[in-house]
């Protein structure tokens, strides 16, 4: 414990220098502002701002990049709440209840709750990294392809809980998502699949393209069709910050979300993606009135936002202790480190303790800054909703297009987004939810990859999934979740059939 205190003291001494504080603030601020633009997620933001850090010393540069990362992550939630556009995979869930809260005049409360939940989760996750980072690495290494596949299967089982209406429709959407994930180059053979000869599809569909289309563009179409619901906030804006009752209601979801997010964030691949989904599913199951979810339940914002931020932070563990980036954003951080002459790996803690602990400390400071930056901005964001829709929607579309283009610098991506916008509008008309589709899509790619790797390693034996204890345990949870979720629906279906 004494060692930990000493390490943290070193970290704070490094992070609290004026220069590093300024870099941390700049990073969080710039990240927030750019992250708020729909479509511009952390990856595009960090890639764009990477040259800015060239002149700083490595520690300062990393602190600033980490600030951009949290800021952009948080900015994604802001657009999810205000205009129903998830900035990235982890804020898909926030659109469900966050945007509903905004529609009921509680946008300020939703934004405030998201900021506070993120801060609490971030603070706890920082302690987790400081105290348990090194031992937790071993957990990540336990996860081979088979375990990972089973974890994803469990994630999909949770997805059935996301359904606001029919479970069958949700399952159908998950399957469509899985199928969309198979578009692109086959991992083993290198052959194109389902690309219809379009070169631009050979690397698959980008998440942002799909999400901006299904949520962003489709939402605009929907709103234009229906003049009454066009202006997001009708009448009074309501209070800007969560009340004491709101906070009390959010406390347990935040703590549970933090735990789930922190655990999943450590896993290689992209475990952090599952955090918000898992948290939402848990909160909905635990709630006394689950039907509130999807209509603006504050727990549906607090829990997933906490999980999102905790996962975003613990995702640094494999990077800092193993030198292996668990996802695309972290891969970019590795690049940033190597540009500064630091190759991340197990040596960094011992060779550059100031860097390692300085970064850990700056995570907490960064979270505090996000809170400081965002609480005053809540008022500004909420006022944005007062902008008449005829001015707002062209701006949303333009920013979406810029964001999409900036991901791969590819104009075709913008066309695909427009296509998915039409598809999303059609889905809405037929009463299908886009959220389960996105979850299926996000998990699908990894799931296929891990399934095939596991089967190649076991030389084709499916028993590998039940012979390995961790994998078997995860599959068992998946089965239980499906049974619990589907049984009531089956029963209800039967009752209806009998009535007819």
């Amino acid at each position: 414990m004494g060692e930990l205190a000493g390490n943290l003291a070193l970290g704070f001494a490094t992070a609290l220098s004026w220069q590093n504080l300024a870099l941390c603030f700049t990073g969080a601020m710039v990240g927030t502002l750019i992250g708020v633009l729909p479509g511009v997620g952390p990856i595009a933001t960090i890639a764009m701002l990477l040259p800015l850090t060239f002149k700083a010393d490595p520690t300062g540069a990393l602190i600033m990049l980490a600030g951009i990362y949290y800021g952009a992550q948080y900015g994604g939630s802001t657009t999810a709440i205000l205009v129903n556009i998830p900035g990235e995979a982890t804020s898909v869930i926030t659109t469900l209840d966050g945007h509903q809260m905004a529609r009921h005049g509680r946008a300020g409360v939703a934004l405030g709750t998201a900021a506070i939940a993120s801060f609490v989760a971030g603070s706890i996750a920082t302690v987790v990294i400081a105290a348990l980072g090194v031992p937790l690495t071993k957990l990540a290494l336990l996860f081979g392809p088979a375990e990972y596949f089973s974890l994803m299967a469990m994630g999909l089982a949770f997805a059935t809980v996301l359904a606001r209406g029919s479970v069958y429709k949700a399952v159908a959407m998950i399957v469509v998502g899985l199928l969309l994930a198979t578009v692109g180059t086959d991992l083993e053979t290198g052959e194109d699949r389902l690309t219809f000869g379009l070169q631009d599809l050979s690397d698959g569909i980008d998440f942002a393209v799909l999400a901006m289309g299904l949520f962003g563009f489709a939402e605009v179409l929907r709103n234009l069709e229906n003049p009454e619901t066009r202006d997001v906030v009708k009448g009074a804006i309501g209070r800007l910050l969560p009340s004491r009752a709101d906070l009390k209601q959010s406390l347990m979801p935040v703590l549970r979300g933090t735990g789930l997010g922190a655990m999943l964030g450590i896993l290689p691949g992209n475990g952090a993606v599952l955090g918000p989904f898992a948290s939402y599913a848990v909160e909905k199951k635990l709630a006394r009135k689950p039907e509130r979810f999807g209509r603006g339940a504050i727990e549906g914002v607090a829990g997933p936002e906490a999980a999102n931020n905790a996962g975003a932070q613990t995702a640094f563990i494999p990077l800092l202790t193993l030198g292996i980036p668990p996802n695309a954003v972290m891969a970019l951080m590795v690049g940033a480190m190597t540009i500064h002459g630091i190759i991340p790996g197990p040596q960094v803690i011992t060779k550059r303790p100031d860097l390692f602990w300085g970064m850990v400390a700056s995570m907490w400071i960064g979270n505090l800054m996000l809170l400081v930056i965002n609480l005053p901005l809540v008022g500004l964001w909420v006022r944005l909703l007062k902008v008449p829709y005829r001015l707002m929607f062209p701006a949303i579309l333009v920013f979406c297009c810029i964001g999409i283009y900036s991901i791969n610098n590819n104009p075709a991506d913008v066309m695909f987004t427009a296509f998915f916008g039409l598809a999303g509008y059609a889905l809405y008309k037929f009463g299908f939810e886009p959220a389960p589709l996105l979850l299926g899509f996000v998990l699908g790619r990894l799931m296929e990859e891990k399934l095939r790797q596991a089967l190649v390693l076991s030389r084709g034996s499916f028993l590998t999934f039940v012979e390995r204890p961790v994998s078997a345990g995860l599959l068992l949870v998946a089965v239980v979740v499906i049974v619990v979720a589907v049984l009531p629906a089956v029963r209800k279906g039967r009752e209806q059939a009998f009535q007819e």
Partner: protein, 323 residues
């Protein structure tokens, strides 16, 4: 008429010279055909940073990733040949791609104006910590004896780890089970975790895990040992001298770029590679910086031709095709 032609020729020559003197008047874009943060991207940014100083204009890196780097190179090859759009080509895009991608929309040897080799990264042969071999000879023997149960990991068809290990397997005459991952990160994760047995990859991706004792390195596929890993023997020392391979990177302009512009860029590139600070940054990564005679456009043109001829039979024999 003849007079007119001479005048026209003189005029165009003068215009060309004037253009070269004025060039560059606006920022120069270098297309990196891989995602930001990878080895090629890092090298392009380090070299580009110094080239900006010589050229007096900002060198901007634009990442256009996709299809093993061929998406970005295809786009760059179709850009206006005015010296404002360049590409960071690579062992994959200008060596292995013709064999891997039958529908490739550019020809590495004829569709470009080569500028010069930038830094490359050596390839290492690494295995999981528990691999029952202590040197390359034992490794090769074990591989030959246990082909049916050994698993090799690679970062996807067409990736550097895939092509370089295809060559290794061919030279050793082994056919292990090959497990495909999406990118180096996940494959390295499973190598450290002991789920797979061995892989080949660029030094910059592996150096810290080797130093930390989480994986073991059998050999480095260059003529000399790397200062970043002085304990790792070369393939020559370890008994497999024919395995010489590195992930080279080189600057290319689209075909038809004026020679004066190419020379200006070549000069800026060479100055960057000679700059002590830039050089140190590249060497710290474990990179190899080409020597003077290897930096000319002519050398690069001949080199690309040799690389295509070298990779095509190896990859065709392995039946590796991507689309």
């Amino acid at each position: 008429m003849k007079k007119f032609l001479i005048a026209a020729a003189a005029l165009s020559l003068w215009a060309g010279l004037a253009y070269a003197q004025a060039y560059p008047t606006r920022p120069v874009t270098v297309i990196v055909p891989f995602a930001a943060g990878g080895p090629t991207d890092v090298i392009a940014r380090i070299v580009g940073d110094h080239m900006s100083k010589t050229l007096g204009q900002q060198v901007i890196v634009e990442n256009v990733a996709g299809a093993g780097g061929t998406t970005g190179i295809t786009r760059g090859s179709q850009a206006a040949p005015d010296g404002y759009t360049l590409m960071m080509g690579h062992m994959g895009t200008h060596g292995a791609a013709p064999a891997l991608y039958p529908q490739l929309r550019y020809n590495p040897t004829t569709d470009f104006a080569p500028i010069g080799l930038a830094a490359g990264t050596p390839i290492l042969i690494v295995a999981k910590k528990a691999f029952p071999a202590k040197d390359l000879k034992e490794f090769a023997a074990y591989l030959k004896a246990n082909q049916a149960k050994v698993n090799e990991a690679h970062a996807g068809v067409g990736s550097v780890s895939f092509t370089t290990c295809t060559m290794l397997n061919a030279q050793l005459g082994v056919k292990p089970t090959r497990v495909a991952y999406r990118g180096t990160g996940p494959s390295l994760n499973d190598l450290v975790g002991g789920q797979v047995d061995y892989m080949c990859d660029q030094i910059v991706n592996l150096v810290e895990q080797i130093k930390g004792g989480q994986i073991k390195a059998f050999a480095i596929a260059t003529a000399e040992r790397s200062p970043a890993l002085p304990d790792v023997p070369t393939t020559k020392e370890a008994g497999l001298p024919e395995y010489q391979v590195s992930a080279w990177n080189a600057l290319f302009a689209p075909k038809g770029t004026p020679k004066a512009v190419v020379d200006r860029l070549n000069d800026a590139l060479s100055k960057a590679l000679d700059d002590p600070a830039t050089r140190k940054r590249l060497l710290d990564l474990g990179g190899i910086v080409p020597a003077g005679p290897e930096r000319t456009p002519e050398y690069l043109a001949a080199f690309v031709k040799k690389e295509v001829e070298r990779w095509t039979p190896i990859l065709k024999a392995a039946g590796a095709v991507a689309n």
